[in-house]
Point group: C2
Chain length 330, copies 2
């Protein structure tokens, strides 16, 4: 394993420290935690519902890169591929509550769901109103490792963008929770890997693929998917993922948004080629794409691979997706 790190046990605090030092105009760290919060979270003229997300580290820029005006109020970083602790999440909730309540955006992993739920109870004991939504956009497999039901993957970034923009516009906590659930129900993702990620504490890739093989349906924690096959041209990969995802939508009319997401070690060049193939096929299929985004938004350390997210989106969601934000990474 070759990685640019110091001690394995210091990876997350050192990463957060680097992120905060290089973006001190935007964010600060909550003392004694690895939670990152908007500098202006408590002092905004525009009192809004606080939006808190978080989860295991290794998916950067998710979540800390999305803290800022128009997106998250705070993000809590756990150890690599490990949920943050309830007390850290609780501190983040307290730091962003402006009296309008706080919405938690949680990816559907057992540890995250449990710890965010405990933090919610702790905050409610302080009379802070808290709601949560659980993102489970990965339609590749069900009841995977670490998960009851579907996994939460790259679609999370789109959920955070829509909810962040809606919160900035003044939407109430209960309306944000309803909106979030609708967005999640209409967001579907599948990913492929050319090479698994190497967790620093483990020191070798999570699984092995031959030189001409890819895995369809991987998660963002080296979870295996639904098939290992020979690598195909980008067009064929796009076709496979689009067919699988569209089969999961009953209604293919209306507006759609897409995200082509790099898994961490896949160059932007390949992501744009894949995006080109995706859009060509969606145009052929008369799918009306009103918003598209390409980049390393929700990664899995040094995994080589890509995921495709397709969202059936109300026109107001398209506007929320397009609104400018002030974050490190959106």
């Amino acid at each position: 394993m070759k990685k640019i790190i110091n001690n394995v046990e210091d990876i997350v605090p050192e990463m957060i420290s680097g992120l905060v030092k290089t973006n001190s105009d935007l964010v600060r760290q909550i003392e004694g935690t690895t939670a990152v919060v908007r500098n202006d979270a408590k002092f905004s003229d525009n009192k809004q519902v606080g939006i808190v997300s978080g989860g295991g580290s290794g998916h950067e820029p998710l979540h800390a890169g999305y803290v800022g005006d128009g997106m998250l109020s705070a993000a809590v970083a756990g150890e690599v591929f490990t949920s943050p602790t309830p007390d850290q999440i609780y501190e983040a909730i307290k730091a962003v509550d402006q009296g309008k309540g706080v919405l938690l955006i949680v990816k559907n992993y057992s540890g995250d769901v449990m710890n965010f739920d405990m933090a919610k109870e702790m905050a409610e004991a302080d009379d802070i109103e808290v709601q949560s939504i659980i993102v489970d956009d990965d339609i590749a497999v069900k009841n995977s490792e670490f998960t009851q039901g579907k996994r939460g993957v790259a679609g999370t970034a789109l959920v955070e963008k829509i909810i962040g923009a809606a919160a900035r516009s003044g939407m109430s906590l209960n309306d944000l929770k309803d909106l979030g659930q609708k967005v999640i129900d209409n967001t579907k993702t599948i990913g492929i890997a050319l090479h698994a990620a190497t967790v620093p504490a483990v020191g070798h890739p999570g699984f092995e693929l031959k030189d001409d093989e890819i895995e369809y349906g991987i998660g963002i924690h080296n979870e295996r998917g639904y098939a290992v096959e020979k690598i195909q041209p980008s067009k064929e990969l796009a076709h496979e993922l689009i067919e699988k995802i569209l089969a999961d939508f009953d209604d293919k009319s209306g507006n759609f948004a897409i995200l082509v997401n790099g898994m961490g070690a896949t160059p932007l060049m390949e992501q744009y080629i894949f995006a080109n193939d995706v859009l060509n096929e969606l145009v052929d299929k008369k799918i009306d794409v009103k918003f598209s985004k390409v980049g390393n938004l929700v990664t899995s350390l040094d995994m080589q691979g890509i995921s495709l997210t397709i969202m059936k989106a109300d026109s107001s969601w398209i506007n929320y997706l397009k609104e400018p934000v002030t974050t490190i990474a959106w």
Copy 2:
């Protein structure tokens, strides 16, 4: 070689097509070329000097990702690691000239310097005033493959940001050229690789490193550097690069800007850990860093590695670096 591509010969046009399709609100492609231009390049109320850059592909998001208000007016993409042709550069110059002239930002490679110079002559024959600046920020080695003198690498993104902001503010062509040369003279970069890039048409990595080795001083086209050594902790890597770069600055007082740049396949996690170590050491050395940026800004396909850029910056340059822009990738 496993890559998400179709035919090797279609990589660049398909990539550009993907980039333009997914960002059609910001940019358009000049017909018959792989040049990308601001949608509003000719129609801006604020007539300004046009800023054109470009070079071989494989360094994404450089340059097309930096086209937009406050940065580049157009970017011209050559084949992978190969200069764009003079006629493509000439078309870009024509597309962005608003009667105030056009500045070319060229990385110091023989092919780029020659072809941008030919395009300049073609445009001058049309009575378009054109100047150029040559970025040569890589202090690792001199007279490398493809280069007379030093190479142009990650510092190019900072030059494009400063010049783009200055052009937006109304600065004249000659003043932009002078500013650009001053910025370049004060911008110094060194990179390291953990693993070389694989050029698609070649099919294997450009050079081999053992499992515990890194190469100091690499370029962005798989050019070898000045030493192969055992990998060190991030702190030691930061120390080595900082010492080499600072030794090249006579005057270490005043304001500085830094860029920690991922080479394409290195996760953001490692980049932030390295940035943390860089800033800790610079604080110890009483270097006053007023601006810092971390991310995959100037890549080398799927190279694993990182580069550090340090710029001694006037306070006006710091402001130019901080100004908001509307681009795909800054």
